[in-house]
């Protein structure tokens, strides 16, 4: 029987089809019996989906832009 640490490791490896048939069976068994690892399994996939949408919204301040403009001009001299 595999423990929870091993089950989370296999959960992640399974995403890339990098586990053996025996590991796959052992993982399925573990997930049926362990609600915590089962929650990890679901949340792990959800985090993968969220990651694809990761975005930030930031901007340069006016002074940073002016500074950048000066440096760009200098860099071509």
């Amino acid at each position: 029987m595999i423990n929870c640490k091993e089950s989370t490791r296999l959960t992640i490896k399974k995403e890339e089809n990098k586990i053996t048939l025996r590991e796959r069976i052992e993982l399925s068994f573990h997930l049926m019996m362990c609600k915590f690892c089962s929650a990890f399994n679901v949340q792990n996939s959800w985090i993968n989906g969220v990651s694809k949408h990761a975005e930030a919204h930031d901007s340069f301040s006016e002074s940073e832009k002016q500074d950048l403009e000066v440096r760009m001009k200098d860099s071509t001299k």
Binding site: A39, F40, V50, K52, A54
Partner: protein, 185 residues
């Protein structure tokens, strides 16, 4: 087919903020992202003779930025070698029998309508930045940019055994951080 043109005078106004936001998702600090955007403009200016007009100016600048980010990862990886860790050390998610530690037991999440939530996205990025830098790098390459694990190992020159330890640790930490800072609040 119309050839695309470069207009460097317009770059800052048109693209600086978008490129900054793109870089911010991928590197740990704003100052680093800012420097990478600056380097992108410099090296784009230097190599503008090589621009053949086959893709848009904007896409070309993004390609230059992506290559700057990869160079940054490679350079940082040299100094981060000590953060690789092994499967056994520095693991606060499980006890020595491989059972979940009490404070780390995954709870139920209610995840409806969260992906569009800007505040959640900030927490997500903060939690990613809180990872060890090399963990955050492989996580970003794999799950944000969708690279294959083989490509990541090759580009960063890491063993696949190191890769799996880094990804496993990154996922555990990130999950726990998101739970603590979003779902528990």
């Amino acid at each position: 087919m119309t050839k695309h043109q470069l207009n460097p005078d317009t770059w800052i106004n048109l693209y600086a903020d978008q490129l900054l936001s793109y870089a911010l998702v991928r590197v740990p600090e704003r100052d680093v992202a800012k420097d990478l955007v600056q380097d992108t403009f410099f090296s784009a200016l230097k190599s503008k003779e090589n621009f053949r007009g086959e893709i848009s100016e904007k896409n070309w600048l993004y390609l230059v930025l992506r290559s700057r980010i990869l160079d940054y990862y490679k350079k940082r990886k040299e100094v981060l070698e000590s953060d690789f860790g092994t499967d056994d050390d520095d693991d606060d998610s499980f006890d020595n029998k491989g059972h979940w530690m009490d404070g780390k037991l995954p709870k139920e999440w209610s995840t409806d309508n969260i992906i569009q939530n800007k505040e959640f996205m900030q927490i997500f990025l903060q939690c990613k930045s809180a990872l060890k830098e090399v963990q955050a790098q492989v996580f970003t390459m794999k799950y944000i940019d969708g690279e294959e694990s083989e490509t990541i190992c090759k580009e960063l020159e890491i063993l696949s055994s190191n890769y799996w330890v880094l990804i496993h640790r990154a996922k555990l930490q990130l999950r726990s951080c998101i739970e603590k800072n979003w779902f528990d609040k």
